[in-house]
Amino acid sequence: MEKLLEYALKAAEQAEVTCTESQSDRVGYQNAQLQSIDTSFNTTYRLRIIRDGKIGTAVSHNLDDRRRLVENAVASLHGNVKAEFSFPFTPPVEPLDAWSPRVAEHPNAEKVAMAEEICQRLGGKPGREISSGVGGFSQVRRHLNSKGTDLEEKKSTFSVSAALTFPGSASSVYRYQTRKAPFEIDATVLNEVEELFDKAQTTVPFEGGKMKVLFMPHSLVTLIWRLLAATSAVSVDMKTSPLIGKIGEQIIDPKLTIYDDPRSPLSAFRSGFDSDGMATGRFTLFDKGVLKGYYNNLKYATRLKQKPTATCWNGGPGLVSLHIEPGERSFEELVAMMDRGVILESAMGAHSGNITQGEYSVGGAAALYVENGQIKGRVKDIMIAGNAYETLNNVLAVGRDAQFGMVSYQMRYPGVMPPILCENVNIASRQ
């Protein structure tokens, strides 16, 4: 890598070289039958150069031909893409306690045994369609630049998933856990999967209208994606965000504090430095509902004259480790607060609609009807619609038990989020 940096500096004023070397193994059970064991080895080198205020890039899987890689980066300067920033000097970052050698060494035979055990544990009743998965991911990442930055980190993720699928559909009650080292899934998580699944066995008639909706972590993508689209420095720069000029204003309910923190041990994705080579940390998006800032990369921070937020991933601004601060209510307490409403376990179509403006309209994939604090059964053919800003101003309570849930379909890094109970949400149904 040093040699590549050296070659690059013969052709440019500034250069940056990054390398990621990854290995992953994944075992998957479907319908309680071992279906797949797959492995991946991947090494990727990325080169960025800055010359005459323009930026050029090139990617390769090896360093066999360093001069060619530099030539490709120089060729891309031809596009005259403005850099607008300089590569930073970042001193060595505090090491993350995010790596265990046991992940790379963990035999696939043990993963098979663990996944099989989950199937057996959930297979107590006939007619259940059970899926489980166990995976290990290890990565070494290095970041060098011409300012003297030289960062390296090792990280590992061991993940376990369990799901019960409603027969005749691919909708399921699904839970996913990760840690830095091999572990067994919590029994409470499996109990929760079973309990919710069992309570959804009967399909009940349902009449739409305005009512309470308990957004579970897997369905929160519906609302959170809208907030992320509007708080990106790109949307601010393009003037499409409805949150322009609103830093310091109360945007959503004071019960909600939302932040990104790739250093948090709770995160599925942990990293001490971002793709710009900036040291990561906690960046608060909303503090008790008040907008605190827009997330950026060095380019947009410079352009918008903002403090860098160290949130550059895959070349652009992005949040990879979103957290919503948990509240105090247990799941049972949240359900007890619902006179009439729906527990939205998972939603369909979060990517449709006018996302930046907060509009959403999603189908209920796995949805349970609640009346007088009691789960009555599963509801089908419903659509939950509204505006994320309105819905997140109608928050009745925030749950205390955070789980992983997707935050957008673009940045596929799960957030750590508790269930959120909202009122006055519109639901359309066939009845």
Partner: protein, 454 residues
């Protein structure tokens, strides 16, 4: 290249093995507003090795040839472990040995168009948008993905196939007061670059739509009878039905598999659904899948009855149904999975006006905006639509999302139009993004769709 692949395969002790090596060139250009934000030319490559041994089947992806020995060792160990643990061994349907090279005949090879010319063309479309009143922002993007695939297996097949996919996307945002509406145009050069030079009218039409949407009313939620235009028909066919004609989706869902048995009556006798990845000059067209199987046209529904399914070699054997050649990977980062090529509802004889007259009161919905399926339930958005009264289009509506049940909706297709068209751009996000999966069809009249609204 094949010599190197043969060397890797020759070191493997297995019942069957195949390897795919790909060189991928990806050359995006992007404007955000007036600013050129990206020009790059990335050339990468990688391998996917699959091994069938003792009833187990496993794949290993790797990016460096130096990793080939450990990839081979790992694939064999994974396959054996899988075989030991399965009650039912995995087997592959037999496929003909193929030795072939497929290089597309292009109308304008994007590799022969200079970066400057591509930037000029893209800047022209972008500038048209930026010069339009009420358009406040744009993202204009050109992508050029060239996959040069080398496939080889232990049965003697050796296939090189190139897939060249230049595409253009323009996203424009219109604003009037507090109302902000996006509209986008996506177009893939189905048979080369030349098509991308002549998109001016399409760009102008799309910009007008963005402006018109500013004064459109949000739809009211409820259950409606609807006419869907070709784009929505295509996404419905792809999302709601197509994914369940992919054998790997239903293979391990016993109840879905029972409901989707060949011979099941799923729709009325006017309904035919076809996947034709052999259709000339379409974005979902190819010659061989990533298992080296020649792709063929498949009638999935014939006269309302389920008559075919899309298969890999593994699922073809599992289901006891013929091979179709639909096992496709996004690129060298992925093991191939079953994908649609060009899926569509076959046109019938009703004109669009006849469909509207038959609808009488309801909604006319146009152009897809995302789509997702969970088993028998699906959801997809429509970019815009119109209220229809007495068979006549009335005011424009927006913020439209549709949800439904596959079986109910197939039965609720009441009439099928004659205005057939496949969509201009492909895309499917089943685990891996396949930019070469297309859909379309004629306008159709569907009863009782649930529409979300505020």
């Amino acid at each position: 290249m094949f010599e190197e692949l043969e060397k890797i395969l020759s070191g493997i002790d297995a019942d069957f093995a195949d390897i795919r090596y790909e060189r991928v060139s990806d050359s995006p250009i992007q404007f955000i507003g007036n600013e050129l934000t990206e020009v790059s030319a990335n050339k990468t490559d990688g391998y996917v090795l699959r091994v069938l041994k003792n009833g187990g089947f496993s794949s290993v992806t790797f990016s460096s040839p130096a990793d080939a020995p450990r990839a081979a060792k790992k694939a064999q160990a994974n396959a054996m472990l899988l075989g030991e643990k399965r009650d039912k061994p995995i087997r592959m349907a037999s496929s003909e040995k193929v030795v072939d090279t497929v290089i597309p005949e292009l109308k304008g090879d994007p590799r022969e168009v200079t970066i400057d010319e591509k930037i000029t063309i893209l800047r022209g479309y972008n500038q048209t948008a930026l010069n339009t009143k009420n358009i406040i922002s744009t993202i204009a993007r050109y992508d050029e993905v060239i996959r040069d695939k080398f496939y080889m297996n232990t049965e003697g097949s050796r296939i090189q196939e190139q897939l060249v996919t230049p595409s253009m996307r323009l996203q424009a945002t219109a604003k009037d007061g507090t109302i902000v509406q996006p509209a986008s145009l996506a177009y893939s050069g189905r048979f080369g670059f030349d098509e991308l030079r002549y998109l001016h009218k399409r760009v102008e039409d799309r910009l007008k739509l963005a402006i018109d949407l500013l004064s459109a009313e949000p739809v009211k939620g409820g259950s409606y009878n609807c006419v869907l235009n070709y784009g929505l028909t295509g996404v419905f066919t792809h999302e709601a039905f197509g994914h369940f004609s992919e054998a790997d989706i239903i293979e391990n869902l016993p109840e879905m598999r029972r409901k989707m048995a060949l011979g099941a009556e799923l729709g009325s006798d006017i309904l035919n659904i076809i996947d034709d990845a052999t259709a000339a000059d379409q974005i979902g067209t190819y010659t061989y899948d990533d298992e080296g199987v020649p792709v063929r046209k498949v009638y999935l529904i014939k006269d309302g009855v389920l008559s075919g399914r899309l298969h890999s070699r593994r699922t073809s054997m599992e289901f006891g149904e013929p091979l179709t050649g639909h096992c496709v990977a996004a690129d060298y980062n992925y093991d191939p999975i079953i994908r649609m090529g060009n899926i569509f509802i076959e046109p019938r004889d009703k004109s669009f006006e006849e469909l509207l007259a038959e609808l009488d009161d309801g909604l006319y919905l146009c152009d897809p905006q995302g789509g997702e399926t969970h088993g028998e339930n699906f959801s997809f958005g429509a970019v815009y639509g119109f209220i229809v009264k007495n068979g006549k289009k009335q005011q424009m509506i927006r913020d439209i999302n549709i949800s439904g049940n596959l079986y109910q909706t197939l039965k609720n297709i009441q009439s099928i139009g004659n205005d057939f068209r496949l969509r201009d751009a492909g895309g499917c996000g089943k685990g891996q993004i396949n930019i070469r999966s297309s859909n379309g069809g004629p306008s159709i009249l569907v009863k009782d769709l649930v529409i979300g609204g505020r």
